[in-house]
Symmetry: C2
Subunit: 332 residues, 2 copies
DNA sequence: TTGAAAGCGCTAACAC
DNA sequence: GTGTTAGCGCTTTCAA
C-alpha cells in the first residue's frame, strides 16, 4: 500500500486514522491509492497494537436452562429484540458491532470472562434474566468494562441502567383509580425477579395511598400462558374485580383472553393495564393501555456508558434510571 | 508466560493449540503455569498470524427502512430469535461467536462488506428480508464466505438453506380437505417475498389437485394487524368460507381475532391453519394447527455450511432444503 | 521433541 | 510534515 502511494506506511496510517499534520496533496494521493487498490487495513494487526477490538460483547446471562442447547425463550421474547435494536442504534454509527454471547451455565460464564480477557471484545453489555447472577461480580473481578441492564443484587461496583419500576406501577394504580375502579388486583411477574417485585410493591404502595389497604395478586412467569392462568385464579378469588394491573404486556394479552373467556368485557367490566409497551400491546384486542418501558433508549444508554468505561478504565460506576410513562389505549 | 514455565514460547503455543509431539511432563508444567498466572492468549496476535478471527457475522439485510435508525421490526419478530438460537446452538460449542450487523442501506451494505474484508469475521450468515437483496452478489464478489437463509433471487453462486414452502402449503391444503372443508381461502404474505409466493402457489396447486380450481386470497404483510385485515377482506368476499390457510402464525393470530369478531367459531365454522409453528401458534386461542418451519435446525445447518466454506474456500456452493411438517392443534 | 528466529500488518514514538 | 524504527503477542518454519 505504502509502496503504491509512494509514501511511508506511517503516513498511510495517519491518513487512515485521520490524524492531522498531513500534507493535503499527500493525503489525496494516499486516498487515491487506497481507492485504486481497494485497500482495507487489517483489523487484527491494528488491535494488536491499539489493544482495542472495536467490538463489545452483548451477554445474555441466565438465559436457557442448564442443559438446554437452545436459548430460544429469551431470544424470542420481543424484549430481547428491543434491547438489541437500542444497542445497535447507538453502536452502529460508531463502527462498533455487538458480539452475541450466552452465559447460562457455570462453564459458559467462565468462557465469557475468558473471551473478554482474550480481547474478543472491549467490554460487555450484560442482560441477566435472573437476579443473583454471579457474572457481574466475575466481570468486575476480571476488570472487564461492563454495564448491566438492571441493578445487580447485592453491592457490586458496576454501572447499570434501570427503569423506575415502582413509579411505573404507581402510574397504573393512579390510572385505575382515576377510572373509578374500586376492586383492583394484579397479575405480577415471577417474584424472584427484582423488577417484578418492584412492580408489585409499587402498585400496592400506590393503591395504599389511595386507601386500598389490600390488593390481591397472582403470580405469573411473564409469559402469555402464565398470564392467562394467573388471571383465572384472580377471577376465581375475586369474581367482581373491575381493574387489573398486569406486570407485562405478554401476560396482559393472556389475561385479556381469560377475561373474555369468562364473559368479562374490557374495559367496561374490567380495566386492564399492562407494562412495557411492547409490540404485544398493540397486537391485543382491545389494544392495551400500558406503561412505557423505554427499552431501546435504555439499551442505547447502556452502550454509551460502556464506551465511557472503555475510554476511561478507572471511571466510577454510574447508574441511569429511566422514567416510565402511561400510554393510554383502549383496555383501561 | 514462557519464562514462568521455563520453556520457549513455541512450546507454550504448541501446548495451547494441542499439537502433538510435546513431552507430557513439559505439557503438564506449561498447563500448570497457565493456570497459576491465569494466562489467556491474545486473540489479535493470534488472528494476525492465523488469519482467522473465530467470529462470523450474522447479517440482517434489508431490515428497517432507509432512514430508520432502529431496525426494531425484524428484531422483535420471533423468527429472528429462532434464527439466532439455532446459529448459537451450533457455533457455541465450537467457540465461535456471531457478530451482529445490519445492512439496510447502500452505505451499510458497503460497510458490512468492508468489515468482512478487514477481517472482523471469517464469513457471513445472511438473513434477508427482501428478495433482490444485492448483498449476496456483493459478498460473492468480495470473496467472503457466506451462506444465505433462503435461496437468492437470480443466479448467484452461493450456499443457502431453505424450506420447501410449497410442500408445507400443500400439507395445509390436504389437511383442510381432509377436514371436509370445501370453501377455503388463503391469507398470503407479501407477494414480493419469494417464500410468500411459494406458500400461496403451493396451496393453490394442492387445492387444484383436490379439484378446487379457484382459491380466493388476500395479501397481508406477515404482521398481526395485516392478518386481521386480510381476514376481514376475505370474509367480506366470501362470508361462507369454512377453511383458511394463513401464511404465517402471526397473521393467523390476527385472522383468529377477525373471525371471532365476526362471530365465527374456530374450528367449528372455520378451520384455520397457520405456518411456522412459532411461539404465536401456542399463544393463540384456540392454539393453531400449523406447518412446522424448522428455523433453528435450518439456522444451525447454515452455520455448519459456513464453517465448511471457511475451512475450504474453493468449495462449490451447496443448498440444503428442509421439509415442513403438519402440526395439528385445535384450530384446524 | 524443543528452541530460535522470522514475520503477520499495523501504530506510535522519535528523529529528521 | 514525513520517514525510520521498534515493537504489539502470537504461530510456524527451520535447525538442533
Amino acid at each position: 500500500m505504502a509502496r503504491v502511494a509512494g509514501v511511508s506506511r506511517a503516513t498511510v496510517s495517519r491518513v487512515i486514522n485521520g490524524i492531522r499534520n498531513v500534507d493535503p496533496d499527500i493525503q489525496a494521493t494516499v486516498l487515491q491509492a487506497i481507492a485504486t487498490i481497494g485497500y482495507v487495513p487489517n483489523r487484527a494487526a491494528r488491535s494488536l497494537v491499539t489493544r482495542r477490538t472495536g467490538a463489545v460483547a452483548l451477554v445474555l446471562s441466565g438465559a436457557g436452562g442448564d442443559e438446554d442447547p437452545s436459548p430460544s425463550p429469551i431470544l424470542t421474547d420481543p424484549f430481547f429484540g428491543r434491547v438489541v435494536a437500542g444497542i445497535i442504534s447507538f453502536l452502529r454509527p460508531r463502527g462498533i458491532h455487538p458480539v452475541l454471547m450466552f452465559a447460562d451455565t457455570e462453564q459458559s460464564r467462565a468462557e465469557v470472562v475468558s473471551y473478554l480477557r482474550q480481547g474478543d471484545a472491549d467490554g460487555a453489555l450484560l442482560v441477566s434474566t435472573h437476579a443473583a447472577d454471579p457474572l457481574p461480580v466475575e466481570l468486575v473481578e476480571a476488570e472487564v468494562p461492563a454495564v448491566l441492564f438492571a441493578r445487580p443484587t447485592g453491592s457490586v461496583p458496576i454501572s447499570y441502567v434501570d427503569l423506575d419500576h415502582r413509579a411505573g406501577a404507581a402510574l397504573a394504580a393512579d390510572r385505575l383509580v382515576e377510572l373509578g375502579r374500586r376492586r383492583v388486583a394484579s397479575v405480577c411477574g415471577p417474584l424472584d425477579v427484582p423488577a417484578a417485585q418492584a412492580r408489585l410493591a409499587g402498585f400496592q404502595d400506590a393503591m395504599a395511598r389511595h386507601g386500598h389497604a389490600y390488593v390481591p395478586y397472582s403470580e405469573g412467569g411473564f409469559t402469555y400462558d402464565s398470564g392467562e392462568r394467573a388471571m383465572e385464579r384472580l377471577l376465581a378469588e375475586r369474581p367482581d374485580l373491575d381493574g387489573v394491573f398486569v406486570a407485562n404486556d405478554l401476560m396482559a394479552q393472556g389475561a385479556l383472553h381469560a377475561l373474555r373467556h369468562h364473559g368479562r368485557s374490557v374495559p367496561e367490566d374490567v380495566a386492564v393495564i399492562g407494562f412495557d409497551d411492547s409490540s404485544a400491546a398493540t397486537a391485543c384486542r382491545p389494544p392495551l393501555t400500558t406503561i412505557r418501558h423505554p427499552v431501546e433508549d435504555m439499551a442505547a444508554e447502556m452502550a454509551r456508558l460502556l464506551l465511557d468505561h472503555i475510554d476511561e478504565p478507572g471511571r466510577t460506576p454510574r447508574s441511569v434510571i429511566f422514567e416510565p410513562a402511561l400510554i393510554v389505549r383502549a383496555s383501561g
